[in-house]
């Protein structure tokens, strides 16, 4: 009996040894930050003095008294719904078109993929220049043909659509993924569907879509998570449009114009590094984590139910 127990323990230790790289990685890069974040969300901690227990105070402050939280949450949800959807549809559409192109496919693939490689700060600054409501070429063209000239990054109503346009411009990552999955759909299925009299839409609906649905799910889930972490572009767009991009000691105005480009990750920085409020920043980080989990679980479940049906 003792030798059996000893053998069992040896096996367990051996298994743990094999698992140790994963266990160490998950512990150091996931569990430790997660537990720390939960811990700090209940503490007052400025990064210098010892943390002190404050109970639910940070949670109450963020949800009821912090004026930037709800606008940032609304903006983040808007971007998750609109930007992610459009990116998936646009990426799939471009992927479909390019797989059909007979000549110059290499050129078009490169042309659509290149913007994705542009550094986010440079790309956003270029867009802010192009969309400058007073001096930008886009509004000059719109004005010359008698169309309305939006305020783009300077108008709360247009700032998120402008960010969405920027995201669609850099669609190269999704285009490549969709192209690969589209080329992987068996040709005989299209031939069989055509023989059965299926039109283009029916072939897409009943052949293409079921075959690439795991890729669509992947694109949506990673898109949602990326959008939850959306930081650089709205921050740079807001700062460039407000004109206050330099100036030592300048106060940081989150979400110019009128909080419309404010996203939750910006608040993590704003509270954690500008107000030295690690507790409040931790609460927002946990809200982001919970939202990403809920969205991902919902998407995975609805996709698996659909595939079972």
């Amino acid at each position: 009996m003792t030798s059996l127990r000893q053998k069992h323990r040896t096996e367990t230790l051996r298994n743990l040894a094999f698992l140790s790289p994963w266990l160490i990685g998950v512990s150091v890069f996931f569990l430790y930050p997660l537990v720390s974040t939960v811990y700090f969300s209940f503490m007052k901690y400025d990064g210098f003095t010892p943390p002190t227990w404050t109970g639910w105070k940070n949670w109450q402050y963020v949800f009821t008294d912090y004026p930037f939280f709800w606008p940032a949450l609304r903006n983040t949800l808007w971007l998750v719904v609109v930007m992610v959807t459009l990116r998936v549809v646009f990426g799939l559409g471009i992927g479909l078109l390019i797989t059909k192109v007979k000549t110059g496919a290499g050129f078009f693939r490169t042309a659509f993929y290149l913007p994705y490689l542009a550094p986010p700060v440079a790309a956003t600054m270029a867009f802010a220049f192009l969309l400058n409501p007073g001096t930008g070429p886009v509004n000059s063209i719109l004005g010359s043909i008698g169309l309305p000239q939006p305020g783009w990054f300077n108008d709360p109503a247009w700032s998120k659509p402008a960010l969405t346009m920027l995201a669609l411009w850099g669609i190269g990552d999704l285009m490549v993924i969709f192209m690969a999955s589209l080329l992987d759909v068996p040709q005989e299925q299209y031939e069989a569907a055509s023989l059965d009299g299926a039109g283009a839409w029916q072939r897409f609906r009943y052949v293409t879509l079921p075959n690439i649905s795991p890729i669509v799910l992947f694109a949506v889930v990673t898109g949602v998570i990326q959008t939850m972490q959306y930081y650089t572009q709205p921050l740079v767009a807001g700062k460039v449009a407000s004109g206050v991009i330099g100036g030592a000691g300048q106060q940081f105005e989150p979400g110019y114009p009128d909080k419309s480009t404010l996203t939750l990750p910006q608040l993590v920085y704003h509270l954690g590094f500008q107000r030295f409020d690690t507790g409040g920043a931790s609460v927002i980080a946990l809200v982001l984590f919970a939202l990403a989990m809920v969205f991902t679980a919902f998407l995975m479940r609805s996709m698996s139910e659909r595939s079972v049906a």
């Binding site: 990064g47 210098f48 402050y61 007073g134 004109g243 330099g246």
Partner: protein
């Protein structure tokens, strides 16, 4: 096996929680010998080549006086990096730190991240009142704790386009706000639904036209003695907001001005709207003249104190003051040597004057302000810096959060979204108090 697994998970959880409790900045005793050979590290935020050269010259002068103290200079540092470095400590952490963000002095002092300078000042026999102007003493301490000293000063005044003034028949800069409004209207030239020249950009996004800079003209009191926000009770804020909105309306209205503002170049770039002639007057700090020259501005530039409220005409000459601060890291093991550098840079008249001239900032000591060696460009701002009614924004435990909240309210007010100014200010007070409660 289950008990083993539970033990592993339990141990991991306890370890994680225990390690989540981070270290603190235990201020070491200043017992290092500053007469022995020692190396210290100095972090600052300046990055332009001219500024870096000025710092290098300042440090070289210090090392000539203190040959045993060697200074390693690291530039282009912002407060985020300072915070992380001082939190981590270690051999590469700085001993002397300067920050542009006076708003963060409250946090730096309250958290002990910067050492208390009072023992050093006492030991060196430095009297603050006879060394530094009063507003500069105010923004370098928090609730009686002095953890920084002023390292040069920024004073805000009125810049005006002399050529545009001459063309409009205006012979002298305005001294009161009613005169200023009239001049701004006279200098404004409408072109279609926009402007070919705007007298002044009053909108709060108009770069230095911030709520706090304007409010300084009324000598406001931001907080009650009990530390509560005082915006609704001090009539200065309502007066400032009412004047600002009035000027917005006189010059064409918020929407029209915002559209015009969108055509402006960067504040700190060559296309600043004052450089390009898009605005004929602007509120700005002492650095603007040098920047305008570098940008190749061809018109004559005039500089004067910003006009004051009519009821306070006798206080003409005052303005908003701010500046760079310098302190000693609480984690430094070489605080006595670090103090020698801080003392030299902040109180040595020759060092302060040379540095001020080199980077076009106002000097920060009373003696340096009187120095005949100061460049002529700085003269108008010397007067503002020395004016008895010049003032600044107080330090706060959450940095400039209260200023941001006031500015946010200003955006809503100038856009016509505030039906009741008094009620709006009272609500802004509530928000500031909530933010302060969170920081305490």
């Amino acid at each position: 096996m289950q008990s083993f697994t539970r033990a592993v998970i339990g141990t991991a959880a306890v370890a994680l929680l225990a390690t989540a409790c981070t270290g603190t900045s235990n201020a070491p005793q200043a017992d290092d010998d500053a007469t022995k050979d020692v190396s210290i590290t100095f972090w600052h935020g300046w990055s332009a080549p001219g500024e870096a050269a000025a710092i290098a010259a300042d440090v070289k002068a210090f090392e000539a006086k203190h040959p045993n103290i060697h200074v390693k200079v690291v530039g282009n540092i912002n407060d985020d990096k300072i915070k992380q470095a001082l939190r981590a400590g270690g051999a590469n952490a700085p001993d002397v730190v300067s920050s542009f963000t006076t708003d963060n002095v409250g946090t730096f002092c309250a958290s002990n991240v910067f050492a208390d300078l009072k023992p050093f000042l006492d030991r060196s026999g430095i009297e603050l009142d006879t060394t530094f102007p009063k507003p500069l003493q105010d923004y370098t301490q928090f609730q009686g704790k002095r953890c920084t000293l002023p390292l040069l000063n920024d004073a805000y005044g009125l810049y005006y386009n002399k050529t545009a003034f001459k063309a409009a028949g205006i012979t002298a800069p305005p001294k009161t706000l009613s005169e200023f409004d009239a001049v701004a209207r006279k200098l404004t030239k409408v072109k279609g639904d926009s402007y070919s020249q705007l007298g002044f950009m009053p909108n709060f996004h108009g770069y230095e036209s911030t709520a706090t800079h304007f409010a300084a003209l009324w000598n406001p009191t931001y907080f009650t003695p009990g530390g509560k926000s005082n915006l609704a009770k001090d009539p200065a804020f309502a007066a400032m907001l009412t004047w600002q909105k009035g000027l917005v309306e006189q010059l064409g209205g918020f929407a029209k001005l915002e559209k015009y503002r969108a055509t402006f170049g960067d504040e700190f770039g060559a296309k600043n709207p004052f450089h390009t002639g898009q605005v004929a007057m602007t509120m700005d700090g002492e650095w603007r003249l040098g920047m305008a020259r570098e940008a190749g501005v061809t018109f004559d530039i005039g500089v004067a104190p910003f006009p004051v409220p009519d009821a306070q005409a006798d206080s003409y000459g005052k303005g908003y003051l701010s500046g760079t601060v310098i302190g000693i890291a609480g984690t430094s093991q070489k605080q006595n040597a670090a103090w020698e550098l801080v003392k030299f840079m902040t109180t040595d008249t020759d060092a302060v004057v040379s540095f001020a001239n080199a980077i076009h900032n106002v000097p920060s000591t009373l003696d340096a302000l009187k120095s005949p060696a100061l460049t002529a460009d700085l003269k108008p701002f010397i007067g503002i810096a020395q004016h008895a009614k010049s003032n600044t924004t107080p330090a706060s435990p959450n940095g400039g959060a209260y200023q941001l909240t006031l500015q946010d309210f200003g955006y809503a007010h100038e856009a016509g979204k505030v039906p009741d100014l008094a009620a709006g200010l009272a609500k802004t007070d509530e928000q500031i108090d909530k933010d302060l409660a969170q920081a305490k």
